[in-house]
Amino acid sequence: MCITVFHWYILQKDKNARPLSLSGHVGFDSLPDQLVNKSTNQGFCFNILCVGETGIGKSTLMDTLFNTSFENFESSHFEPKVKLRAQTYELNESNVRLKLTIVNTVGFGDQMNKQQSYQPVVDYIDAQFESYLQEELKIKRSLYNYHDSRIHVCLYFISPTGHSLKSLDLVTMKKLDSKVNIIPVIAKADTISKSELHKFKIKIMSELVSNGVQIYQFPIDDESVAKINSTMNGHLPFAVVGSTEEVKIGNKMVKARQYPWGVVQVENENHCDFVKLREMLICVNMEDLREQTHTRHYELYRRCKLEEMGFKDTDPENKPVSLQETYEIKRQEFLLELQRREDEMRQTFVQRVKEKEAELKEAERELQNKFEHLKRLHQEERMKLDEKKKLLEDEINAFNKRKSAAELLQAQAFSSSSSMNIKRDKDRKNSGFM
C-alpha cells in the first residue's frame, strides 16, 4: 500500500484472538459438511503419472486399482523418443465425481541411449505447472472452474530384477523428486520370492537414501491416520501385482493371475502389497497428495519461475517491495526493451533502404552505359552507311557523267552517218550494253 494513502478510519485491532466458550449450540459445526458439499458439487481432479519401462504392467495396474478397463494401447519397443500419453476419465462412486487423468510414459527405457529419457517427463510436469501458473497470473481468471492437470502422484515402476535399482531409475527419480510426489513400486512382484523381495526392498530404500532421492512419505502429523501411515512407510516400495482376470478361489471370484504352479491373488496381502497401495493412494492420502502438490511442488516451481523472470519480494535494502513498484519496474524494463527493439528495427530498415537504393543506382548506371554504348554503335553504323552512300552516289554520278558523255558522242556520230549505221550502232550499242 502506498504510504500516501491516509486512512479515514482508526483501526483498533485485537491481534490476539481470545478463546471463548459458547453457552449453547450455535451451529457452525456444520461447516465441514458445507465445505464437503460444495466440493462434491464441483467434483474432484486426480492425476496419476506412471513412469516405467514398456511392458512392465503400468496400464494393467491402473485397471486393477480403479476396477475398470481404461483404453489401453500396447506400445512397441521401437519408439525413437520417450513420449507421454494422457487420458482423462470420469469415475463415479457413491456421489463422488472424480476426474481421473492417467499419464503413461511411452517408450521409456527402450532407447539404446537413455540419457535424455527423463527430460520429456520433467517437461510434461513443468508444462502442467506452467499452465496453472499462467491461469493464476491472469487478470481475469477462473481458478475454481480450472481443470487442474498438475500431476498429483508419480508411480515409479521398478523392474523386479531382485538386485538393485538401475541407473536410469536413480537418475529419473532424482530429477523428479522435487517436482512431484514419488511412490516407487516394484512391478510384477510375483516373479520374486519372499526372501529376495525383502532384501530387494532394503537395497532399494538404502540406494534411494544414499543418493538423496526424496520419495513421498505418508503424513504422520494427523493423529487419526498417523499410525497406519507410519506402518506403511516401512513397507515401501510396494511390491504389486496387477490383474483384471478373475479366478475362482473357493466359492468367490477374485482378481488373480493363474500360473501352472499356482494362483497369485492380487488382493491377498500375503501375496503382494496391492491392497496397501490402494489403501494408501486412494483411501487415506489422496487429499494429502493433492495438497502437497499444490503447497510444496507447485509453490517451488512458481517461486523459481518468478525469480527467473526477475520478480523480487524485497529490494536490495531488504524492504518489502510493493506490488505497484514491482509492476512499475517491470513495465519500465519492458518499455525500454520495446524501445530498443524499435530502434533496432528502424536501423535495419534504414540500412535496407540504403542498400536497395545503391543497388538501384548501380542498375541505372549500367543501363545508362549500355544505352550510350548502343548509341555509339548506332552512330558508327550510321557513319559507315553514310560513307557507303556517298561512295555509291559518287559512283552513280561518275556513271551518269560517262553516260551523258557517251550519249553525246553517239549523237554526234549519228548525225554524220546514215540511219542504217545508226540502227547498227544502236544494236551494237544495245548489245554492248546488254
Binding site: M1, C2, V5, Y9, I10, L11, Q12, K13, D14, A17, R18, P19, L20, S21, L22, G24, H25, V26, G27, F28, D29, S30, L31, P32, Q34, V36, K38, S39, N67, T68, K83, L84, R85, A86, Q87, T88, Y89, L91, E93, L98, T101, K140, R141, D222, M253, K255, E267, R278, I282, C283, M286, E287, D288, T295, E299, R302, F311, D313, L323, Y327
Partner: protein, 338 residues
C-alpha cells in the same frame, strides 16, 4: 519431447461394485483436513448506535463476542470519525474450531453530517482485499494466507416503518458491490406484524429500484435447487430481529426474550428438549438469520467473497497498475479516496 495426446472427452466409467475402490473416501479425508486447519469467519456490523448490533452478535454466537457500547460514557460513545473495531475470538463446537472476527463500526450514522460515512467502511474492506492480494502475489507465500477479508456485512435498518433513508440507500448501493450485505430490521419489536410486512415490502422495492443486490445475489445461484432455496430467503429479507441475551421462563420453557409490559417477546428457545423449529418466528426472525449466516450458507458466503468480490477487486487493481495509475480503487474512484 513430451507430447500430450488429445484428451479424450471424459467417459463415464462407473466403478463396479464387486470390489470397492474407495474414491468416496476423499470426502472423509477432506473433512479431516478441514477440521485440523480450522475455519475463519469475519463478520461486520454496521448501523447507528443503539440499534442492538452487539446484542445481536452476542445472541448469534451465544457468547460475548462484542462489547456493548451502551455501557460507555457519553464522551466515549460517539467517536469523532467512524472507527473500525475488530475483535477476534477462537470458538469451538464439536471439534470444529473457528476464528471468528466481529468488526464493529462505532460512529457510523451518528453524526449530524453523515455524508461519506460509508467511506471508512469501504476503505477498510478494500484494505483487507489489498492485504490478501499482496500476500498472494508474493514470491515466498505462506502456506495458508490469513483471511481477514470481510465475508459478510450485516446492515441494521432502524425500524421507522416507512422506507429506507438516504443514508441506508447510499451505503448499501456502494457496498453491495464489494461485500455481501445482509440487511436486517433492528429492534423489530417496535413494529406490529402488519407494519413489519409493509416495511419489508417497501424495503425490497426500494432495493430493487436502486439496483442493490443483497445476499443471496440472484446472479450467483448455481442451479435450480439453489435458486429455489435462495428465492425463499429473498422473499423474507430483510429479517426482522430482536436481539436478546436474557433468559426468561415462558409456559415452562426457558427462552431468550425481551420482557416488556405487554408480554415477553420470544427470541429463541434454549431448552434442550424441544427441537429448534419450535421458535416463535411470529415474534422474531432471528432463527432464519442464524440459519442463513451460520448453519447453511456460511461456506457459500465465504465462497462468494473469495471468488466474486475479491476477484473483482484484484482485476481492477491489476488493470489499474497496467494503465499506470496510482491509488487504490474499489469499484469507484473518487478524487479524495487516495
Amino acid at each position: 519431447m513430451a507430447e500430450l495426446s488429445r484428451e479424450l472427452p471424459s467417459r463415464q466409467v462407473p466403478a463396479t461394485d464387486f470390489s470397492y475402490v474407495g474414491i468416496d473416501s476423499i470426502l472423509e479425508q477432506m473433512r479431516r483436513k478441514a477440521m485440523k486447519q480450522g475455519f475463519e469467519f469475519n463478520i461486520m456490523v454496521v448501523g447507528q448506535s443503539g440499534l442492538g448490533k452487539s446484542t445481536l452478535m452476542n445472541t448469534l454466537f451465544k457468547s460475548k463476542v462484542s462489547r456493548r457500547s451502551a455501557t460507555s460514557t457519553i464522551e466515549e460513545r460517539i467517536p469523532k470519525t467512524v472507527e473500525i473495531k475488530s475483535i477476534s475470538h477462537d470458538i469451538e463446537e464439536k471439534g470444529v474450531r473457528m476464528k471468528l472476527t466481529v468488526i464493529d463500526t462505532p460512529g457510523f450514522g451518528d453524526h449530524i453530517n453523515n455524508e461519506n460515512c460509508w467511506q471508512p467502511v469501504m476503505e477498510f474492506i478494500n484494505d483487507q482485499y489489498a492485504q490478501y492480494l499482496q500476500e498472494e502475489i508474493n514470491i515466498n507465500r505462506k502456506k495458508r494466507i490469513p483471511d481477514t477479508r470481510v465475508h459478510c456485512c450485516v446492515y441494521f435498518i432502524p425500524p421507522t416503518g416507512h422506507s429506507l433513508r438516504p443514508l441506508d440507500v447510499e451505503f448499501m448501493r456502494r457496498l453491495s458491490k464489494v461485500v455481501n450485505i445482509v440487511p436486517v430490521i433492528a429492534k423489530a419489536d417496535t413494529l406490529t406484524l402488519e407494519e413489519r410486512d409493509d416495511f419489508k415490502k417497501k424495503i425490497r422495492e426500494e432495493l430493487s429500484e436502486n439496483d442493490i443486490d443483497v445476499y443471496p445475489q440472484k446472479e450467483f445461484d448455481e442451479d435450480a435447487e439453489d435458486h429455489l432455496i435462495n428465492e425463499k430467503i429473498r422473499e423474507m429479507i430483510p429479517f426482522a430481529v430482536v436481539g436478546s441475551d436474557q433468559e426468561y421462563q415462558v409456559n415452562g420453557r426457558r427462552l431468550l426474550g425481551r420482557k416488556t409490559k405487554w408480554g415477553i417477546i420470544e427470541g429463541i428457545i434454549t431448552s434442550l428438549f424441544l427441537p429448534f423449529t419450535v421458535e416463535n418466528v411470529a415474534h422474531c426472525e432471528f432463527a432464519y438469520l442464524r440459519d442463513l449466516l451460520i448453519r447453511t450458507h456460511m461456506q457459500n458466503i465465504k465462497d462468494i467473497t473469495s471468488t466474486i468480490h475479491y476477484e473483482a477487486y484484484r482485476m481492477t487493481r491489476l488493470n489499474d497498475i497496467k494503465t499506470y495509475t496510482n491509488g487504490m480503487n474499489g469499484h469507484e474512484s473518487t478524487a479524495c479516496e487516495m
